[in-house]
Symmetry: C3
Subunit: 353 residues, 3 copies
């Protein structure tokens, strides 16, 4: 029975100052929310992230716009900025300030007496925290989270409902882990023994450095020995699989449903689009970019874009894809060539005048 919070409201002048934009138009106009171009009304501010949105922007009923240089003819005041994405981030932060849950442990959480929870941390109902686990200052554990024995949750980290950290998994500062993600399940390792698959014990850990974000239902397996490592600033989307003993370099981007096999090494700033697969023991150099659904069977050392399965440098891959489109035509042309050549051959075999 709680009533909704009062809506915030800001003049365009104050918003321009907050986001560091140049105001074009009526600075006294007041807006109360951020909305997309197609649904925004006169009391809302919208945003134009690039030229592809020009038409939608001109048709919008929004009361004001955030836009980069080069977007013109907008039907309202404009907060002009070189980086509309960063301005949008500021706007959203201003209109939707984070509301951290109150510190403290919910009475329905189950905390082992041998766990250590900082008093400033927040632990929700039915969260279970095992012996030896450490939850540091300002961390937020939503309800139904599981933190295994001797695991560590860093300062100001956020674990959404149903996250699982198995034993000894370590998570750094400001790490965000979305619901259903599982860190530290056993790596997938077996040895053949008289026709049976014998399990190789997976006794290593998982180390997630600071400022990493991990998507919903993503799985990151613990190492056989040593650690599976996600370096600082890397962002991982939903339903991604990361095998045992993988190392993902700093500030990489792994889009949804990517699969990284065991013992892969990704360099810094690697970007893998949706559904990319990387075979075991492969190394990708700094700045390698894999296009959607690419399959990477072997090392790619040079920065640049790779497409297809098997993944090839973008120009080569595009030439092949273009040629594939012409394959049926090519078959016909070769058939025609064969026929014409036969005619020529027959002719030249004829006794000459």
């Amino acid at each position: 029975m709680t009533s909704a919070a009062p809506r915030p409201s800001f003049t365009l002048r104050s918003l321009a100052a907050i986001v560091g934009a140049h105001l074009e138009g009526d600075g006294d106009r007041v807006v109360t929310a951020v909305a997309p171009l197609d649904t925004a009304g006169p009391a809302e501010i919208s945003f134009v992230l690039g030229a592809r949105y020009q038409a939608a922007a001109c048709a919008s009923r929004a009361g004001a716009f955030v836009a980069p240089e080069g977007i013109t003819g907008l039907p309202g005041p404009v907060l002009r900025t070189a980086s509309p994405q960063l301005a949008l981030i500021r706007l959203l932060e201003v209109f939707h300030p984070a509301e951290p849950p109150a510190p403290g442990v919910h009475p329905a959480a189950v905390i082992d007496p041998g766990a250590s929870i900082d008093p400033s941390a927040s632990v929700g109902a039915c969260a279970v925290i095992e012996r030896g686990a450490v939850v540091r200052r300002g961390a937020t554990l939503f309800p139904l989270v599981y933190v295994g024995a001797d695991a560590e949750v860093g300062e100001d980290a956020t674990l959404y409902p149903h996250v699982v950290l198995r034993e000894r998994v370590r998570v750094g500062r400001r790490v965000v882990i979305h619901s259903g993600a599982v860190l530290g399940a056993d790596g997938f390792g077996y040895a053949q023994d008289a026709g049976e698959h014998r399990k190789v014990p997976q006794v290593g850990g998982v180390l997630v450095e600071d400022d990493v974000e991990i998507g919903a239902n993503t799985t990151i397996d613990r190492a056989t020995v040593g650690d599976t490592v996600i370096r600082r600033g890397t962002k991982i989307d939903n339903l991604v699989q990361i095998g045992h003993n993988v190392e993902v370099g700093e500030r990489s981007i792994l889009v949804a449903q990517v699969g990284i096999s065991g013992s892969v090494r990704l360099g810094r700033g690697v970007i893998l689009a949706g559904q990319v697969g990387v075979a075991d023991h492969v190394t990708l150099g700094d700045g390698v970019v894999g296009g959607a659904q690419a399959g990477v069977p072997s090392d790619l050392e040079t920065a640049g874009v790779y497409l297809g399965s098997p993944a090839r440098p973008v120009m080569e891959a595009k030439r092949i894809m273009a040629a594939e489109t012409r394959l049926p035509e090519l078959l016909r042309r070769v058939r025609a060539l064969e026929k014409r050549l036969e005619d020529v051959e027959r002719q030249s075999e004829e006794p000459r005048g």
Copy 2:
């Protein structure tokens, strides 16, 4: 220590009436269960969904069969019907009547005093329901479900164990969500800022209309602003990823492991087979069908079947696949042509008689 429920039993005559089929054979015969062709015994009724099952049906020991016209030589009485699928649905409903859990909130559920639960709803043990959430008439929340602040669960909806609805997610009437599905995790959006990935706050929601079904461990991200929308009657399989600000049209079908990137628009009656990927901002028109593992990099407006990665109209794609099979042969033929042409050229260069 509960004893099993008594098995139901029906005469074929009564079953024929219930499913609206024409009875061929002994109407007094009694069956007690529905079973597949290969395991059914004389006390069970089985079903023949199409001609591909003719041989298995003739070899079956089932005591009776549901079958369409054209399936003949069956070793038992037949309930003949134009739509064996719909008849099977009725049979299964009759032999396995739904047993809705008793209404009421389990004492081990954790309900915020600011949440609103209809007295006819059922809430299982260790379910956690946050402030402002609304659970409507007849809804079933299995144990360990999480319903975030201000989220809404529609009438007669079913949330299986370990479903997560993050804050403000809205779910319509008769929606079924399977275990481990996560609705409303943050969309995957970052802006580049001095070499770092800065998170774009994801403050929008998720709206799931009536009669949608969502598979196990599927993820549907909340919108940046506005809503990610799943329109009425759409069915989504397991492990599907749906990015932020996507709209999936009415009565669409998304098979397991499909990945839909951010801001995609799917029309009505779209069918995407297993492991299809759709790139961000792409629009698929009404009635577009994507074959398994297809990759869709750009808009497909016309209804019809598309295959391959990149996805192409079915006839074009099949011609290309057929030509690929002949590629090694084509290489040989071109090599032979080159050789023969050289001979011809050499000959024609020779001084003529």
Copy 3:
């Protein structure tokens, strides 16, 4: 506030005896842990699983090595063995003995009075076990596990946190199921009825035989009628989808993100690498191996390796892939042929001397 367990320590002589290896070098040397080649120090033993690790082994600071014949020049004593994988398994078991949780039911678990839990089983906090469920001797259910009505958990089985077994799912002896896996969600089956998708009730079950391992966030759907079956000794990785009425044969291997559609039959010893998809009703014979990202649209009866989408026998697939690489060149060659042939044709049309 628990102190870490004392580190185990072993002489190389005793380890050689334990793993059944031939010792080369100082048998009195003591090691206290197993570590990977790149991080192992003088007090640790490392392992060389094959020739690809020769260089890394020679550069390692490890105090001893497990290695097969043919790996020479190692900078320390060697435990020589024909099967370094099996020796590694023994070493890891010795240095990391399993610590089964204490038997008994945690007071915060929620057990229906009609469930049957063996006194030797361990059930963690906030686990929920429904009416009629059976948990057998030595089974371990971690916190937050859900076991549905009439489900069965076999002897010495392990269910990690957040596993879901829906009603009537049966799991055999020594089965290991990792966090977030969902067994028994409804299969994906609908019939068309006047433009709507009508749900086919999924009233069958799931049967998992002995010694199966199932990865994190994997989904195995219940059968429409009958059972979805995973035969003994099969190992399934993370995020795998297995549809209704599938049968997976003995000792098969399904790597991460594999998708198996409904009613598929896999033989014994089938191996499917990452992201493979198999279409519905397809049968794969014993010993079929599908390469990463393969797509299998139809039956493959003969044992052997298949690659690509659509999957083809490995030699054929490799020839096609190699030819694809040369496609742009092939286009140029055909163009050149056409030009040269035109010249020849023109010439031969000229009146002859």
